[in-house]
């Protein structure tokens, strides 16, 4: 600190006060100069929509130290909160425990609570390698919101209208990089909890990448956080995980998407047919923690 009296010089109190006043003045200027939420003056030109910014692929959210921070948030906050609020009953979790290659996780969608609950159901090992497709026009409209959900849930922007090729390409890259992909093929939250028709994109993605699809169904999340409400309420939730489905030889993407939709519907109805949930012996062996697992491969097998 330079010599001088306490009230003068570069670090003197009068200098600091003038800097602080400068900050205040700047803030006042900005506040008065820009208006948010007010009607756009008629004299101004129309807002341009021609070339939207290329959305970031949010690679930072899948790198350290963000992954460790996210792990801490999910283990320390999300998981206890989910347990206390919903006491989730998870059935068929062995099917995700035994994943040895990236998969597409497909679930119904009726609440914002679905994503944290599904991630909670996946268990640490799978959750840590799972990205979530989040509506670009909803979550990424505001950059700060996009960053928060990406940090918390490892989401990436998934365009619901336009840019299908771009989205498919980006999803394929993630799958090939060893990430599981959690998608909600209904496209939006169900207003009444009933299953809505699936969009065919999930079929394209699975067939193109020869990736298995794991059907999942969440029941009860709508009572926790229904559409239009922001405060969660406690309610019991059941999460069912079905046996992985793989596209058959010669099966079209649309047919496969239909099969996935039927599997989720069957899980919703509580069907326990071995075709859907596997025989108990298959599930028992799948849940064997003592058996050595094959080393996880970061890239799926090459398409035939």
């Amino acid at each position: 600190m330079p010599a001088g009296t306490w009230y003068s010089g570069e670090w003197g109190i009068s200098s600091l006060a003038s800097r602080l006043l400068g900050v205040v003045a700047d803030a006042r200027l900005m506040r008065r100069g820009f208006h948010s939420g007010t009607p756009r003056p008629a004299t101004w030109a129309e807002r341009s929509t021609a070339v939207p910014d290329r959305p970031s692929d949010l690679a930072w959210a899948r790198m350290e130290p963000v992954r460790s921070i996210r792990y801490g948030i999910q283990k320390g906050l999300s998981a206890p909160f989910a347990e206390v609020m919903t006491h989730p009953q998870i059935e068929g979790s062995e099917w995700v425990q035994q994943l040895d290659r990236p998969a597409i996780l497909v679930a119904n969608h009726s609440s914002h609570a679905d994503t944290p609950l599904l991630l909670h159901a996946l268990g640490d090992r799978v959750r840590e390698r799972t990205v979530v497709a989040a509506a670009a026009d909803y979550f990424y409209r505001r950059p700060w919101l996009g960053r928060v959900v990406s940090l918390w849930l490892n989401t990436f922007p998934f365009a619901r209208s336009g840019g299908a090729q771009e989205v498919m390409h980006r999803s394929s890259v993630l799958l090939k990089s060893g990430w599981n992909l959690l998608v909600f093929p209904e496209g939006t939250r169900s207003p009444d909890g009933r299953l809505q028709p699936f969009k065919p994109g999930v079929g394209h993605l699975a067939v193109e990448n020869r990736t298995p699809v794991i059907p999942m169904h969440v029941r009860g999340s709508q009572r926790v956080l229904p559409k239009g409400r922001n405060v969660p309420l406690p309610a019991p939730v059941r999460i069912r995980v079905g046996k992985p489905l793989s596209p058959g030889a010669g099966e079209t993407s649309r047919d496969f998407a239909d099969r996935v939709e039927q599997a989720v519907q069957a899980l919703a109805k509580g069907s326990t047919s071995p075709e859907l949930t596997g025989s108990w012996i298959e599930r028992w062996k799948a849940s064997d923690k003592r058996a050595p697992r094959p080393r996880a491969r970061l890239a799926p097998e090459a398409p035939e």
């Binding site: 009953q89 059935e91 068929g92 979790s93 108990w280 028992w284 062996k285 849940s287 923690k289």
Partner: protein
């Protein structure tokens, strides 16, 4: 080497004695010369339970190894004991879960597709999903619940079949799935000698018509005691039923026993003798006593029922029921037996917060009688610790409180039946049938988590021998009106109770305090 149980005589240096008092405690100074019976310390558990279980399944007693009994295409049923055992519930992993996992593993390796697991609840309440999960473990639960893992339903006519009648005319009913199975594997946990053996299957998967054959006042009066099966008419009846079941169904019986390590580290001082309490134990007790004195019952209950016991497995045997049970009883007696010289005029007991029928629930006044006078009093071999005509003094708050979901028939039993009479014979002849066949109780047993309508009667019958044997029963610290409804005398302090008891047994009585839990079995000369 664990320290054996002991009988010590109270002298001037003896510290005050701990009495369990529902969800609380009392420290009492017993008169000089009184005896205190302490249970043995927990014996060393088996170091590697999974390995011991695999060894037992491979080398069963008078039976073929399990894997030789399993084949593809067969129908396999695994039945297991419910949450009434052990007390308190065992900290995870429960030994039944470990055994079931090995059995299921063997079935998976053998390719047995048709496997079902049934909780042998008999007339107890149906367990919740979480309670079943705690017993069988996560892996078994997620694989089988709810279609292939469920509670037995003793009131569903389509789910129970008549196997036959014993030579004494006792009806034998069995769960239909078990009766139609190629193999029934029963997984038992024996805490006290009363459990296990033929009683497991005959009672656990039976229904009211088979259970009522031996749960009668006369049978229980002829059992000296239920804790010593060779002298128990109840067990003789169960053996007759079990042998009939063995003739009809292929049974592979697995029994486990645990030590008496009943309290977790936080309440370890409850496991110790008062003379062993360190300054830390004394401080912990003092703090717990202050808290339990002040806290409302619901809070105390929630805290106590969340305590799980760190039991260690002391034995596992598989094979033919009788052979297995003999081995198990050896292990149980090794842990529980305490030699006691001679009978006494007065026995004192503290009744804790937990009995077999109020796990995660409320110990209502009828269950206080069942636990104190039915079970704790009968933890003897040869003859009771108290002489005939002696006095039993129990300590419990005896509040008028019931769990409406678990014990609906208990409320009516208390309000209606006990208001009329407390005589077990009269209760049995006048009221049992009506409660047992009541459609509303049946509905709640089947659809909810209620004990069967007849259950409070059985709870009361367990105490029939004590009521007949003793000259008086005095409850210390109990709600006066409730104690009178139960037909007992009420005292505010132990000193008052001893004064009252002298009117029955005479001046200068001999006094014995049973310091339990942990549980013990008094072998009285």
């Amino acid at each position: 080497m664990a320290r054996p149980g002991a009988v010590i005589e109270v002298d001037r240096n003896t510290p005050p004695t701990l009495f369990h008092y529902g969800e609380g405690f009392r420290l009492e100074r017993l008169p000089l010369g009184s005896r205190i019976v302490y249970p043995p310390d927990p014996i060393d558990p088996i170091g590697h339970p999974e390995r011991a279980i695999r060894r037992a399944l491979s080398n069963p007693l008078e039976d073929d190894p399990l894997k030789e009994l399993l084949r593809p295409g067969m129908k396999l049923t695994i039945a297991f004991d419910d949450l009434s055992l052990p007390l308190p519930p065992m900290a995870a992993p429960d030994v039944r879960g470990l055994v079931i996992e090995e059995v299921v593993d063997a079935a998976a390796r053998a390719g047995v597709e048709d496997v079902e697991l049934i909780a042998a609840i008999s007339l107890h309440r149906k367990m919740t999903a979480d309670e079943i999960r705690h017993i069988v473990g996560d892996r078994v639960f997620t694989t089988f619940w709810p279609d292939r893992l469920y509670n037995h339903d003793a009131e569903d006519p389509s789910q129970n079949v008549l196997i036959g009648r014993t030579n004494q005319g006792e009806e034998v009913w069995l769960n239909r799935r078990a009766s139609e199975s190629d193999l029934v594997v029963y997984v038992n946990l024996t805490l006290v000698p009363m459990d296990g053996g033929h009683k497991s299957l005959a009672t656990g998967l039976g229904c009211y018509r088979s259970v009522k054959a031996h749960h009668t006042v006369d049978t229980l009066l002829q059992s000296r005691s239920y804790m010593h099966p060779p002298d128990s008419a109840l067990h003789a009846s169960c053996v007759r039923q079990g042998e009939l079941i063995e003739d009809a169904v292929r049974v592979f019986h697995i029994e486990t026993s645990v030590n008496n390590h009943s309290f977790p580290a936080v309440a370890n001082f409850l496991q110790k003798r008062e003379t062993d309490w360190t300054t830390g134990d004394q401080a912990a007790f003092f703090a717990l006593k202050q808290v339990t004195d002040l806290a409302p019952p619901d809070v105390k209950r929630a805290a106590f029922h969340s305590m799980l016991a760190p039991y260690g497995m002391t034995g596992v045997n598989a094979g033919q029921v009788d052979k297995v049970h003999d081995k198990t009883l050896e292990n149980v007696r090794r842990q529980m037996m305490v030699p006691v010289e001679g009978q006494t005029d007065i026995v004192t007991l503290g009744v804790p917060y937990l009995g077999p029928y109020n796990v995660n629930s409320i110990m209502n006044p009828v269950l206080v009688v069942c636990t104190g006078l039915g079970y704790l009093f009968n933890l003897y071999k040869n003859k009771p610790v108290v002489r005939e005509g002696g006095v039993v003094i129990i300590e419990h708050p005896c509040r008028y409180e019931f769990n409406a979901v678990h014990h609906p028939s208990y409320v009516d039993f208390y309000d209606e039946v006990l208001a009329d009479t407390t005589d077990p014979h009269e209760i049995e002849s006048r009221y049992e049938k009506r409660f047992a066949e009541d459609a509303w109780y049946r509905q709640m047993y089947q659809q909810s988590h209620a004990y069967h309508g007849v259950h409070p009667f059985y709870a009361w019958y367990w105490a029939a021998f004590t009521l007949q044997h003793c000259g008086d029963v005095i409850v210390v610290g109990g709600d006066r009106a409730t104690v009178h409804r139960l037909g007992f005398k009420s005292a505010t302090t132990l000193e008052d109770a001893l004064e009252m008891a002298e009117q029955t047994v005479g001046r200068w009585p001999s006094i014995t305090h049973l310091r339990t839990p942990p549980l013990m079995l008094c072998e009285v000369d």
